[in-house]
Structure formats: structure tokens, C-alpha cells
């Protein structure tokens, strides 16, 4: 009888441990639900957020000095690229499941797909870039991390005219900071334009229940094009390279 009681106690203890294990597993597998209507923080010039110009290479600095904002790809309704999608003054919808997260931007009615199924970037991505890039996502704890490559070099990073090459790699981190706020940290890594990766942070704010995405069909009545005139606001820009980063002493 005592043996049976002991077995019962062991069984109960095992059951409790089992339940805790299941619970812990559910929590670790549980990821934040980012689904919803989100409002961008309008950021027409990334260097304003950064507090200075990004760490240009000589080539990147000369491109910035001579950029002509009349040649903005967005002005002729080419897709704005992943960076401007999240910094324009228009909201977006995020829809999430285990295999994919999709972003539907009001601005230009364009989209991004974050593939969450463990795939790799396609081998021929460089030959077939897309303005919004090819994005792979995964969770690191409660943070969504997205690696985007294959971004068409004709897109710009912002309205001010910061450009990039086909080698641009974006790393974005999405983290809920409250029920109605989400922090977006984006790192721009492009060895053609920048000497090192650099990052900014922005905050997305949740819209109200019932908010909807409205039409933005860029070519519907784009009368601006014929009125654009050359505009080079940075011709006096003087490039000052960053001092070399201090190397870590050998251990």
C-alpha cells in the first residue's frame, strides 16, 4: 500500500513537472502578436535622426554631395523601398502567422513579405532584385528580426536623397514596447556607400479600432513629374571621414 502511495506521489510530482514543462514550452514558443494597423513616424531625412551624416565612403559622400532630388525614384512612382516604406507619413497593416509576416503599406499600395519558414535567400537574388527586397524573418525572444537583401539599387533610403547600392543589407528588429507601440530598429549595411553599418530607431504607434488603409495609387494623377527641376541641395557638403575605429588589444 505504501509503495502504491509512493508511486502516486512520484506520479503527481512528475505530472506537475510535466505541466510546468509544457507551460514553459508554450511560453517560449509564444511570440508577440504584431498584427494590426500601425502608424509610421515620418522621417524624411535619416541623418536628422542619426544626428549627423552616415559614415560615408568617399563614393557615398560624393553621391550625397551631388544628389539631385528631382530624380527621386518615388516621384515617378517607383516603389519606395523597405526603408522609406516604414518612414513615410502613411500607415501600414501587419498580418502575422507562423510561416509569414506580411506588411501592406498604404503608401503606393506596396507590400513586403517576411518569410518565417527557415528558407534562405535565393541564389539568383542579385540578378532579380525587387525594390522592396527579399526578407527572411525569425524570432529572437520577443523580437522579430528581419534580414533583407536583393533591394533594387534604384530605391532611396529617404526623401532627402540618401542612396544605396545593390549590396545593401538591412537588418530590422521589431519589438513591442507597450500594447500600442512598437520599436523599429534598422541597421543599414552597405560597403559601397558606408564604411560601417549604422542604425536608427523609430516608433510605430497602433491605430484605432476600425482604422483602415486608404487608396494610394501613385500613378492615378501624378502631375508633378513635368514640373520637377534639378535640385542639388548638398553641393557645399564637405566629407570628413570618421577616424579609424580603435582596434581591440589582443588578449
Amino acid at each position: 500500500m505504501r509503495a502504491i502511495q509512493r508511486l502516486g506521489r512520484i506520479g503527481t510530482a512528475f505530472g506537475i513537472v510535466f505541466v510546468f514543462t509544457i507551460s514553459a514550452r508554450a511560453q517560449s514558443a509564444g511570440t508577440p502578436d504584431l498584427t494590426g494597423f500601425w502608424i509610421n513616424q515620418y522621417t524624411p531625412d535619416l541623418s536628422v535622426v542619426l544626428g549627423k551624416q552616415p559614415p560615408f565612403t568617399e563614393f557615398g559622400a560624393e553621391r550625397w554631395r551631388t544628389v539631385d532630388t528631382a530624380k527621386d525614384p518615388s516621384a515617378i512612382c517607383l516603389p519606395v523601398g523597405p526603408s522609406r516604406g516604414f518612414t513615410a507619413p502613411f500607415p501600414f497593416l501587419l498580418v502575422q502567422n507562423d510561416k509569414m509576416i506580411s506588411i501592406m503599406f498604404e503608401y503606393q499600395s506596396i507590400w513586403r513579405a517576411f518569410y518565417m519558414d527557415g528558407r534562405k535567400h535565393p541564389d539568383d537574388l542579385a540578378d532579380y532584385p525587387y525594390f522592396m527586397g527579399h526578407s527572411l524573418g525569425h524570432w529572437e525572444g520577443d523580437t522579430l528580426v528581419v534580414d533583407t537583401q536583393g533591394i533594387d539599387e534604384r530605391s532611396w533610403l529617404d526623401t532627402a536623397g540618401h542612396e544605396h547600392s545593390a549590396k545593401l543589407k538591412l537588418t530590422e528588429r521589431f519589438k513591442k514596447t507597450g500594447p500600442d507601440t512598437m520599436q523599429w530598429t534598422v541597421t543599414y549595411d552597405d560597403p559601397v556607400y558606408f564604411t560601417r553599418p549604422w542604425s536608427i530607431e523609430r516608433t510605430f504607434t497602433r491605430g484605432k479600432p476600425g482604422d483602415r488603409v486608404l487608396p494610394y495609387t501613385c500613378n492615378e494623377n501624378n502631375l508633378d513629374v513635368e514640373h520637377l527641376r534639378p535640385n542639388q541641395p548638398n553641393l557645399n557638403y564637405k566629407h570628413v571621414p570618421e577616424p579609424p575605429q580603435a582596434k581591440k588589444p589582443p588578449r
Binding site: 502608424i39 509610421n40 513616424q41 515620418y42 524624411p44 539631385d68 532630388t69 528631382a70 527621386d72 518615388s74 516621384a75 512612382c77 513615410a88 507619413p89 502613411f90 500607415p91 498604404e106 503608401y107 526623401t159 532627402a160 536623397g161 507597450g178 500600442d180 507601440t181 516608433t203 504607434t205 491605430g207 484605432k208 486608404l214 487608396p215 494610394y216 495609387t217 501613385c218 492615378e220 494623377n221 501624378n222 502631375l223 508633378d224 514640373h227 520637377l228 527641376r229 534639378p230 535640385n231 541641395p233
Partner: protein, 132 residues
């Protein structure tokens, strides 16, 4: 939460007459050094993307000139409470804005006032926390 409100306020501020800066740089099309005020009659309204346009006939010394006025994006204006029929053809309007760089009769609207003093197509309440 404060950051959230700050983000909303920033959004509302920049959405007011500045939405053209999302589509392309303001200075590639308009001249900040050439402000202008026009008073005339609305002849047509185009509620379309990427920016609304309305057209104004301005009478001066027996001659009538035709002007195009560019405003914000329809979605921005809609959320600010404006509708495509917020103004009617034939209404009088006074427009403050900036002239196009190419010398055409095109103005980027900053403020427009109807004859009864109501503002027109100004996006100052986009994404108000109070709802819309």
C-alpha cells in the same frame, strides 16, 4: 505612452501640407522664396493620388488667369476630415502657397480659406487620438 503621443503629434504636424515631402523633395518642384497669395473661384477639384489638385480662376484687371493648386494626399486629407465635396465648384477661395520653380501657374497650397472663413484641405488632425 508619452512617446506614442509625441509620435502622433509629430505625424499630425508633418502631415499638414507637408505630405508632398514624402513623394519627393519639396524644393525639386517649388520655390520657398516665392510665396504667393491667390484669390479666385474654384473651377475643378481632382481628388486623386498622389496629391489632390484644384483649379482656380483669378480675375485681375479684366483678365482671367487659370491656376492649378496642389494639396496633400487624399488619404491624409480624408483622415483630417476632408471629403471630395468639402468645397464646390464656383466657391471663392483664397490660397497661400509657393510658386512652382518652372514658372508655370502652379502653387503648392499651404493654407486655403473659403469665403466664409472656413479652412479648406488642410491636414492638421491626421490620426487624432480622439478618432475620426
Amino acid at each position: 505612452m508619452t512617446r506614442g503621443i509625441a509620435a502622433l503629434v509629430m505625424f499630425a504636424v508633418v502631415a499638414s501640407g507637408a505630405s508632398i515631402a514624402a513623394h519627393h523633395s519639396f524644393a525639386a518642384q517649388y520655390d520657398r522664396d516665392k510665396p504667393i497669395t491667390l484669390k479666385g473661384t474654384i473651377t475643378r477639384i481632382e481628388w486623386a493620388n498622389p496629391h489632390i489638385y484644384f483649379y482656380v480662376d483669378v480675375a485681375d484687371k479684366g483678365e482671367t488667369t487659370h491656376w492649378a493648386i496642389e494639396g496633400g494626399a487624399p488619404s491624409t486629407l480624408y483622415r483630417a476630415g476632408w471629403r471630395k465635396d468639402s468645397a464646390k465648384v464656383g466657391e471663392s477661395v483664397t490660397v497661400d502657397g509657393f510658386l512652382a520653380k518652372d514658372g508655370s501657374k502652379l502653387v503648392n497650397m499651404q493654407v486655403a480659406l473659403l469665403a466664409d472663413g472656413r479652412k479648406l484641405f488642410v491636414g492638421t488632425q491626421t490620426f487624432s487620438p480622439k478618432g475620426h
